[in-house]
């Protein structure tokens, strides 16, 4: 278990202020925030590469705030991988096993490289590897030391889409194997299906912490709502009816969707801006059209937030003008129209 207590640090023009959160054993903890929010600095602080001005970092109850870097059992994978260019992949993997017996070192290398599907890379030099391969080497090199917690700095940001889904699957497997993970990113979509807990950070402060459902469905303030952009976020399962693909949510809302595999489970996401409200059903090519009852109308800095109960509580975002012209009121029935292309499905 990793705890950060009242961590503050002044970087001259940029502050980390009163950072508090806990990553429990077995968590996949996702730290979300725009670039420049201080996420990477926070990771460096946990790894010991930067010291806080005040506050403490606790690992399994013992204070490691000022403990030397090598003595911490914390693994970090940097965004640029930081693979040692003058060593083969095998030597990179063996680096942290210094002092171990040769056959034990070999055993661990064989073990981790087959787990991460990279046995073919062992005798290669880093300069000959692709971005995705370097990422695997970096993960393997860190995991081979069996860290208490694995810190990942934007691990999915610099690789192409096809490899991204492979890597996401790999991270999920590593997590299922019992590894506690803290993952930092500015892109909520990439890792939403991975996270068991989320913290949202901006300008050096943690704004909200909770499960993905808590944070996405009940953002605590305007920034969180705006940043994560999606309040319509529901666990769902894909089914086909008469050859058409639908996502069915826990509240039995059926939403037409374009991409996905039948019987897959995961999450559907719809941006509030993509929901069109009308007093009567719209004559349109959009395939999702259903009625609901307005439960709440709230003005936010980003528009008018309309909550509609229709099996699930959906949040639509409209402009002031639309609100006036549509004569919307709480308790009134309204029709929702959503294009199938506006519905995103993330397997998880």
């Amino acid at each position: 278990m990793l705890e950060l207590k009242n961590i503050s640090r002044n970087f001259g023009g940029f502050d980390l202020r009163d950072i508090n959160f806990t990553v429990r054993k077995g968590d996949y903890f996702l730290l979300l925030g725009p670039s420049g929010a201080g996420k990477s600095l926070l990771l460096e602080m946990i790894a010991g590469l930067t010291l806080p001005d005040s506050g403490s970092v606790l690992l399994n109850g013992s204070d490691i705030t000022t403990m030397s870097i090598p003595a911490r059992r914390i693994g970090i994978v940097f965004q640029d991988h930081a693979i040692f260019p003058h060593m083969t992949v095998r030597k990179n993997l063996a680096y942290s096993l210094h002092g171990l017996k040769k056959d034990e070192t070999e055993r661990r290398i064989t073990n981790i490289s087959s787990r991460l599907l990279m046995t073919g890379l062992l005798d290669r030099k880093p300069a000959t590897l692709s971005g995705g391969e370097l990422q695997r080497v970096a993960l393997a090199r860190t995991l081979i030391r069996e860290p208490e917690i694995l810190l990942l700095d934007e691990p999915l940001s610099s690789i192409d889409a096809r490899i991204k889904s492979d890597l996401r699957r790999l991270l999920r497997e590593i997590h299922r194997g019992g590894q506690t993970i803290m993952h930092v990113t500015h892109d909520y979509e990439e890792a939403l299906s991975l996270a068991t807990r989320i913290a949202v950070m901006d300008h050096g402060k943690i704004l909200q912490t909770g499960t993905p459902a808590e944070v996405f469905q009940h953002p605590r303030n305007g920034f969180v709502a705006h940043f994560i952009g999606v309040r319509n976020f529901f666990p769902a399962k894909l089914i086909t009816v008469e050859g058409l693909l639908y996502a069915v949510t826990g509240g039995d809302l059926r939403i037409r969707i374009n991409d996905g595999q039948e019987n897959e489970t995961g999450f559907v996401m719809i941006r509030g801006e993509d929901i069109v409200l009308s007093e009567r059903p719209l004559e349109s090519s959009a395939v999702n059209s259903f009625p609901g009852i307005i439960s709440e109308i709230v003005k936010t800095p980003f528009g008018i937030d309309i909550s509609v109960e229709c099996g699930e509580l959906l949040h639509a975002v409209i402009t002031e003008q639309s609100l006036a012209s549509l004569h919307l009121e709480e308790e009134k029935t309204v029709w929702l129209t959503i294009k199938a292309t506006a519905v995103k499905f993330i397997s998880g």
Partner: protein
């Protein structure tokens, strides 16, 4: 173009002229002189020792200079370059003031049985004094080209600071350091001004060239000069070869 050619000619002409000044037979006869061979051996050996001994401290020091900011760092960097700009005879005088028999260092040396003045140990100090900046600057540039990220990654993998230095920083900066070592070695063995003040004897080759010139004349000094220049050129070519490889 023409000006460039003139400048180039100005450098090439005296060296080329000198190289062709002595017949191969004369050169061969000179090499056969034991005095000459001993002097060249002494020069190479002392300069090599100076480079090797001072590298042990200078290379980690260069790493510190590349990695850390500290108060008065600019002053420290300036001090390192000082031996390059001060007249080497003055450097010799300064060094002599530090190691002559009545000083603290001189007494420590005497207790250990070494009188620096007129001793290879004194020559070594003089050579190191004027050539050390070349090693420190090259090594510092080398370390600066190693991404800090790699050292940090190594630390998080459980390696001690010393192991990180030996297994990551040093191998990755190795080419620059090697150039620095060769440069220091070559510069050290060419030193005349500082050495002549500390030790006329035992005679290193640059001093032997001077002595033969003043005592016996140009014709007598030329063959020794040619042989020594050829040796220095050899190391110079090696250096160019290595730094070419680095830039590719």
């Amino acid at each position: 173009m023409l000006l460039g050619a003139l400048v180039l000619l100005f450098i090439v002409a005296p060296v080329a002229g000198l190289l062709f000044s002595s017949s191969p037979l004369k050169l061969f006869e000179t090499i056969k002189e034991q005095e000459v061979r001993q002097s060249i051996l002494l020069t190479l050996l002392v300069s090599f020792t100076a480079t090797a001994l001072f590298a042990v401290a200078a290379i980690p020091f260069s790493w510190l200079l590349a990695r850390y900011d500290f108060p008065l760092k600019r002053l420290v960097t300036a001090i390192i370059d000082l031996p390059v700009v001060i007249p080497h005879s003055a450097a010799g005088i300064a060094l002599l003031g530090l190691i002559s028999r009545d000083t603290l260092l001189g007494r420590i040396g005497s207790a250990a049985g070494i009188n620096f003045v007129g001793h290879p140990a004194g020559i070594m100090l003089a050579m190191a004094f004027v050539s050390l900046p070349f090693l420190i600057n090259a090594a510092r540039d080398g370390f600066m080209s190693v991404p800090v990220r790699l050292e940090k990654a190594a630390l998080t993998l459980g390696a001690s600071q010393a192991r990180v230095f030996l297994t990551i920083s040093l191998p990755l900066a190795w080419r620059n350091i090697l150039s620095g070592l060769i440069l220091m070695f070559a510069r050290g063995m060419s030193e005349f001004g500082a050495v002549i003040i500390i030790a006329y004897h035992p005679m290193i080759t640059p001093i032997m060239i001077y002595e033969r010139f003043t005592s016996f004349g140009l014709k007598y000094a030329q063959p020794v000069a040619v042989i020594f220049i050829l040796i220095v050129l050899l190391f110079f070519l090696l250096l160019r070869f290595l730094s070419n490889k680095t830039s590719r």
